[in-house]
């Protein structure tokens, strides 16, 4: 059977499709505003003409590379591709500013590939068992998981505690725009139907990170010495540096890949939370936690590997039960059904070759991503040579069109403007941006799951600790909060002593 699967995976047409789709995924992912979901949705008409295996390979290859490619615009232009990559964008962008863009991107692409490969190995060994856990997640468990993710904001933020928290609450306030799930009341929508669904995170991220940076960069003298230095970074030196980093942080990478897959498999916002939790954990166990957020390769390694591992993880509930983990897998399920295959426990028994071929394609896509990513890194680094006076307006235009592309309304551009100015003033006053993004991404999830749980339990709070997984997650979260409160207290006390 093994050779059969191998033949299917490396069959010429399948190989060509994976190759083409990694190229396509890199291209789409690197363009600001265009998401992996959009890349996959655009593929759907083409999959009509493909056999099931190449069709799924195409989707898998596209998402895998699109998620990594988001790091390219994140590192070079400070426009993160996904909420997950926002976890380490400060590290990546700062490295790029001091002339280490290639190093940072090489670490990104290799750890992404490692994460993806680890993810697929775990998936092929444990998918049914993992899916059993994922499927027992109700709103209670999802609520605690999102809380755990949110707590990481405080762990990852590099401002003072009140400022990190302020950023988080700004994010949560932004997330409360739109119709609420419990009552259906339009909040802070100012009568605009476009705001009923809340503020989508792509324009929000473009505004907070990219536009605020545009505002800042046009203020300084426009000769861009740092950028030129980055373009001159020798590939060989970058590769050596990246290689050393991979060796040094191998435990972090391994841990993040495994955690990424497991958390990514959970419903709700698994994949988005995975990178944040891995980043926070990496910082906690790091020998040099103070470097995180200031251009540290370990953070990129942790987030980058967890990011792509979570993509693999997200396939678990989809493949095993046909319940999509995110919109990409939802589209993939549609494509599978179109081919007369319905995902579910039986697919593992009835069509094991298909499942294993899929895993094989996943594996292969992650390998092919390496040379493809390298090519993209070399090509994209050229944009650092372009003078900033020319580059800045172009970045601005791409940001605006990218934001507009999400759902074709000018409201997205107002969001970019509003949040960009907010982000600018936040940074000017030492308020970190990352917790706000996490607040925007997780705020809705936390609220929805909390409200749904409360309606189910008819207002009985103890219901949050009644179910098995819910109790474990809940107790873990509460303990973490206690620890944080105690730590803050201790810090405050020692600071006061010092001041006295």
């Amino acid at each position: 059977m093994f050779s059969e699967i191998l033949m299917q995976v490396i069959a010429l047409d399948n190989l060509m499709i994976i190759l083409g789709c990694t190229l396509y995924g890199t291209f789409v992912g690197a363009i600001p505003g265009l998401t992996a979901t959009m890349a996959v949705a655009l593929l759907v008409p083409f999959t009509f003409y493909l056999d099931p295996v190449p069709a799924i390979s195409a989707i898998v290859a596209t998402t895998t590379t699109a998620i990594f490619a988001g790091d390219i615009s994140g590192t070079l232009l400070r426009i993160p591709g996904t909420p997950a990559s926002a976890a380490y964008i400060d590290d990546a962008y700062r490295l790029s500013k001091v002339g280490r863009a290639k190093t940072s991107l090489l670490v990104s692409v290799t750890t992404a590939a490692i994460g993806g490969v680890v993810g697929v190995i775990i998936l092929s060994l444990l998918a049914p068992q993992l899916a059993r856990i994922a499927i027992s997640f109700s709103s209670f468990e999802s609520f605690w998981l999102a809380c755990l993710g949110l707590t990481c904001a405080v762990l990852t933020g590099h401002g003072t505690v009140p400022k990190s928290l302020a950023s988080l609450f700004i994010g949560l306030a932004i997330a409360s725009v739109g119709i609420d799930i419990a009552v259906g009341h339009p909040r802070f929508t100012f009568g605009l139907p476009e705001l009923l669904d809340g503020i989508s995170f792509i324009p929000a991220m473009i505004g907070i990170f990219a536009f605020s940076e545009v505002l800042r960069s046009v203020q300084s003298t426009l000769n861009g010495q740092a950028a030129a230095a980055s373009a001159k970074e020798k590939l060989g030196q970058a590769a050596a540096r990246a290689g050393r980093a991979l060796g040094t942080y191998r435990t972090t990478i391994a841990r993040s890949s495994i955690m990424g897959t497991l958390i990514g498999a959970l419903p709700g916002a698994g994949a988005d939370i995975a990178a944040w939790i891995s980043y926070a954990v990496a910082r906690r166990f790091s020998k040099e936690p103070e470097k995180f957020g200031n251009g540290h390769l370990e953070g990129i390694a942790a987030g980058g590997s967890a990011n792509n591992a979570a993509i693999a993880g997200a396939w678990t509930p989809s493949l095993v039960f046909g319940i999509p983990g995110d919109s990409v897998t939802a589209i993939a399920i549609g494509v599978l059904m179109l081919k007369g295959l319905s995902p579910g426990p039986r697919i593992f028994i009835d069509q094991p070759e298909l499942i294993h071929t899929l895993f094989g394609s996943f594996f292969l896509a992650n390998i092919i991503m390496l040379p493809m990513g390298l090519l993209a890194i070399m090509m994209s680094s050229y944009i650092l040579r372009i003078p900033r006076a020319i580059m800045t307006p172009i970045i601005l235009l791409f940001s605006l069109v990218g934001a507009y592309a999400i759902n074709g309304t000018a409201v997205a551009i107002w969001i970019v403007l509003g949040l960009g100015i907010t982000g600018y003033f936040m940074e000017e006053n030492g308020i970190p941006l990352a917790p706000a993004i996490l607040g925007i991404v997780l705020g809705k999830i936390i609220e929805d799951n909390f409200m749904v749980s409360m309606i189910k339990a008819q207002g009985n709070i103890s219901a949050f600790f009644e179910r098995e997984y819910s109790m474990i997650l809940g107790v873990a979260t509460v303990l973490l909060w206690c620890y944080l409160i105690v730590r803050t207290g201790v810090e405050l006390m020692s600071k006061r002593h010092r001041n006295l």
């Binding site: 979901t37 949705a41 509930p317 059904m337 995902p343 039986r346 074709g408 309304t409």
Partner: protein, 325 residues
């Protein structure tokens, strides 16, 4: 005699209407990319149907049909975008059953009169689905238990006041129970609702049976009833509510292809003809089978009638279950 005369007159009217339609040249063709608005998210049933239709329309007309998911506000955002676009044929969209429910629950002022219906694409009847190992083996048992223990069971499927909520509350109400005898738990759509059901968070979901079809086939979920007149070909063992319930309650969502308000007749009928051709193809039939649905073929005039009827029926249900505003 009188009825005969009437029917003759009616036939004449139909003939005139048809000849008027025939008179409109119906030879309009898009010359550049068309925007295809979907009011629901990527990966859902409406999205899948729309993307398939868009790609086949694009093949037919030779210009791209670009699908845009304008989600939000439980359908308000996307439907407003379809209704208020320029009626030049370069923006069309998939208006769904919510165009007839949203205005009753006070979400928006839009009604089916604010769009130009072109053709029906899909009919999606609700189902009554429980988890494997549920104590209920039929929909009558479920309703009897809910009648004796009102408020104990929970159901889910979509937002508060959404179409699957109407399916459940309407069914309970028409069987003489309080509409909230099974409490509604809002969810972000069919997928999350089924996740809740699998996780034991709710007791029953009333999402489209086609959505839960694959999990029913796998034996993870049990389909108790299909809210339709006829059984689903893909799941012939699931009885219909028409057979099972005294009230004969049925409810189906639907997906249409529609244009903005005031779209010229020749554009409407050109699209109508194109859709008619598409739904007749083998490719479309295969697509429908894969989703456990049947091919529907209904043109503009008939669709408008159906929407009118559906609007008053849904309005009556919404008022009866106390959700009207």
């Amino acid at each position: 005699m009188k009825t005969k005369l009437l029917s003759a007159a009616a036939a004449l009217c139909v003939a005139i209407v048809m000849s008027v339609q025939a008179f409109a040249a119906c030879d309009w063709k898009p010359e550049r990319a068309v925007t295809f608005i979907v009011p629901w998210g990527a990966g859902g049933g409406t999205d899948a149907n729309s993307r398939m239709m868009a790609s086949m329309l694009s093949e037919k007309f030779g210009v791209p049909f670009n699908v845009v998911n304008r989600t939000g506000g439980n359908g308000v955002t996307g439907h407003s975008a379809i209704a208020t676009a320029k009626p030049d044929g370069y923006t069309i969209g998939a208006a769904t059953v919510e165009i007839n429910t949203m205005h009753w629950v006070g979400l928006t002022d839009l009604t089916y009169e604010n769009i130009s219906p072109i053709a029906l694409i899909d009919i999606v009847p609700a189902g009554v689905t429980v988890k494997k190992g549920s104590p209920f083996t039929s929909v009558t048992e479920l309703i009897a238990y809910a009648g004796e223990n009102p408020g104990e069971l929970t159901g889910s499927g979509t937002s508060q006041g959404g179409i699957w909520h109407l399916a459940l509350a309407g069914m309970l109400q028409s069987e003489g129970l309080a509409p909230d005898a099974i409490r509604w738990i809002p969810s972000k759509g069919a997928g999350p609702a089924m996740q809740e059901l699998m996780a034991g968070g709710v007791d029953v979901v009333t999402v489209a049976l086609s959505e839960s079809k694959s999990l029913i086939e796998q034996g993870e979920l049990v389909g108790l009833a299909y809210m339709h007149n006829e059984r689903m070909a893909a799941l012939p063992d699931v009885p219909t509510t028409k057979e099972e319930l005294a009230s004969g309650w049925t409810l189906a969502a639907w997906i249409t292809l529609s244009g903005p308000e005031g779209m010229p007749e020749d554009i409407v009928c050109s699209y109508e003809a194109a859709v008619k051709e598409i739904v007749g193809t083998q490719q479309w039939a295969d697509f429908k089978v894969s989703r456990g649905a049947t091919v529907v073929d209904m043109g503009s005039a008939e669709l408008i009638e159906m929407m009118k009827q559906s609007d008053s029926d849904l309005g009556a249900t919404i008022k009866a279950i106390g959700l009207a505003k």
